[in-house]
């Protein structure tokens, strides 16, 4: 029962983690992140429908395409606005989202894109204690795999240490000779790739249409704000929390469930403006 919420939380985590790290690293308010998830979802859906990709290679394809596209955008455009005001960043990324939505509508069409799951992910699976939807179990497994991988990469590798250093104190990290520009391009591309993965994995229950980029943006932002900026584990717990809450509320209080999430976020941010797991910014 709870598993559905956990599975949704995993998708939220996969999409939001890139947003959290880029916001924490560069303080960039990237409202186009949902757009990258949407583009990735489309790349995956189209690769399967028209170019005969299987599900897993299509996921990889979506990741690579979106990461490459976002790296180009980052170098050409985003990097111009790192020192700009929040307002300029907000405007720029809203503009980008509009352009993404319009291009996708023109190129693919405004209708919902169905994503065919492969046979081995359909149906029910016997978990010993109970039967459950295979796909939800698959999502949870993938989510756990990704969070452990990211945690290891973040805590145990050199690049991870550099990212953590840059999130905590950017100027100090720079003076230690860390190449922040390169680091950010890499993280940004990786984060967008993860968003693409999430867009594809979540398409089964979030749907996939041009409005995706704006429809779920508030959710992604809430997860990041609740989890704290630049914290992989924080985003993970926040995504689980929001995913399970949302699932349970939609089930038991079909009316007004969303209002509760907003109220919860407001109260939480008033209590801890830096998020549940963020460290205090001075």
């Amino acid at each position: 029962m709870l598993l559905g919420g956990v599975a949704a939380g995993m998708v939220l985590f996969i999409v939001s983690v890139g947003l959290s790290v880029t916001m924490g690293l560069m303080g960039f308010v990237n409202l186009a992140h949902g757009g990258f998830a949407m583009i990735g979802g489309y790349a995956i859906a189209l690769a399967m429908k028209h170019w005969g990709f299987a599900f897993l290679p299509a996921l990889l394809f979506g990741f690579v395409v979106t990461a490459a596209a976002s790296a180009v955008l980052e170098r050409l455009l985003y990097s111009q606005l790192y020192r700009a005001s929040e307002l300029d960043q907000v405007l720029f990324t809203i503009g980008l989202v509009f352009m993404m939505i319009a291009s996708v509508t023109v190129l693919v069409g405004p209708e919902n894109q169905p994503l065919m799951l492969p046979a081995f992910l359909r149906g029910q699976i016997n978990l010993g204690i109970t039967q459950y939807r295979t796909y939800s179990v698959f999502l949870i497994a993938v989510g756990i795999l990704i969070v452990s991988g990211l945690w290891l990469a973040f805590e145990r590798t050199r690049t991870g240490a550099q990212i953590r250093a840059a999130v905590d104190n950017r100027r100090m990290a720079e003076s230690l000779g860390i190449n922040i520009g390169l680091l950010f391009t890499l993280t940004f591309a990786f984060g967008s790739g993860m968003a693409a993965l999430g867009g594809g994995l979540g398409a089964e229950f979030l749907g996939l249409d041009p409005q995706y980029a704006l429809k779920y943006l508030v959710y992604f932002l809430i997860v990041v704000a609740v989890g704290g900026l630049g914290r992989v584990t924080g985003v993970f717990y926040a995504a689980l929390l929001i995913g399970v809450l949302d699932f349970a509320l939609k089930k038991y209080v079909p009316q007004g469930g969303t209002a509760f999430i907003y109220a919860f976020t407001i109260l939480l941010l008033l209590w801890r403006p830096q998020g549940l797991f963020g460290t205090k910014v001075t």
């Binding site: 300029d88 503009g95 352009m99 319009a102 509508t105 704000a225 209002a259 907003y262 941010l269």
Partner: protein, 338 residues
């Protein structure tokens, strides 16, 4: 030159400061144009009314965003609060006199602005952005839930609004009364905002926007000023929402949505924020473009709008008026003698 000014006659900077608030020669132009529109395009008065309301709403945003530098994505919360105040009072037959209805709308919106401002303005940056967004989403959900009062998703339609001053009927099909009424309200609100931004209070808002730390250091009550500004701006947005509900005789959830908040932000930035007439220029440019383009090529319109935003953020941060100012500056620059 008044006697007090003559003392500063040899201090150009002081003189400029003392004269800053004076009306410029070109300032009546927008108002004359608005009146001319009334006589020239009687068929487009509905569009004109919508345009004037949008200008009023954009001015309210300019006060918080352009002058006080509070980046908010939730300004539509106050627009919707005003609209629903007028809508619910009229639908239930409690109050349908237009002018006092607007005052009530302003009071309700200001109360919400004060309440949320007191808590939200403790934060800044991304947290503040998220909080304004969540407050608006929360109000929207609340309006959706309380459908006994608000009509839920369908909203309230055919609101019985009493004739203006007891004499002039509101007619949705031929909105002459609405147009002049909205124009008058816009003028009153504009004069208020203009006086406000040139007052010492307005000056201190600009100071807070430019350097909050320094304003703290000189002893300005920064948070109180911000909350006051937020509340006043909420009241004006409430008036805009209330008058929108009166002119269209209906309210729906769209008045509280992110779409409306984003649109007004785009309009203000397009015209140039932190400038009194930015809202006018932006609203005219945006509404004219969207009115004619969005019906013909909806997708191309969205693509073009996105492209325009990207260009503004990258190259023209002060919008159309900023470009015009640059142009005027360039024309007036001293030229080398040949």
């Amino acid at each position: 030159m008044t006697p007090s000014e003559s003392r500063w006659a040899d201090h150009p900077a002081a003189l400029a400061l003392a004269r800053r608030h004076r009306p410029r020669a070109w300032e009546p132009i927008p108002w004359v144009l608005a009146l001319a529109f009334f006589f020239a395009f009687p068929k487009y008065l509905g569009f004109g009314t919508e345009l004037l309301i949008t200008i009023l709403f954009a001015i309210s945003l300019d006060l918080v965003l352009g002058y006080a530098g509070i980046v908010t994505l939730g300004q539509a919360a106050f627009f919707g609060a005003g609209a629903y105040t007028v809508g619910i009072l009229a639908k239930r037959g409690i109050w349908n006199e237009p002018i006092t209805g607007l005052i009530l709308a302003a009071v309700v919106a200001a109360a919400i602005g004060l309440g949320s401002g007191l808590v939200l303005l403790r934060t800044g940056g991304l947290t503040l952005l998220m909080l304004t967004l969540c407050t608006m989403a929360l109000l929207e959900e609340a309006a959706n839930l309380a459908h006994d009062y608000t009509g839920g998703f369908d909203g309230l339609d055919s609101l019985p609004i009493a004739p203006l001053l007891g004499r002039f009927e509101f007619n949705p099909l031929y909105p002459t009364t609405q147009y002049l009424y909205v124009l008058a309200v816009l003028f009153v609100c504009f004069v208020f905002v203009r006086t406000l931004v040139y007052s010492p209070f307005g000056q201190s808002l600009t100071g807070i926007r430019e350097n909050t730390l320094r304003m703290h250091a000189v002893g300005a009550p920064v948070r109180r000023r911000l909350v006051t500004c937020y509340t006043l701006s909420a009241a004006i947005a409430g008036i805009a929402g209330g008058i929108w509900a009166q002119a269209n005789a209906y309210v729906n959830l769209g008045t509280l949505g992110l779409d409306r908040a984003a649109t007004v932000l785009i309009i203000l930035v397009l015209g140039g924020y932190g400038r009194l007439y930015g809202a006018f220029v932006g609203a005219v440019a945006y509404m004219a473009l969207s009115h004619f383009l969005s019906k013909l090529y909806p997708t191309a319109w969205q693509l073009g709008l996105g492209f325009m935003l990207v260009v503004i953020a990258l190259f023209a941060r002060n919008g159309i008026l900023g470009i015009a100012e640059l142009g005027a500056h360039w024309l007036r620059r001293p030229r080398p003698m040949p």
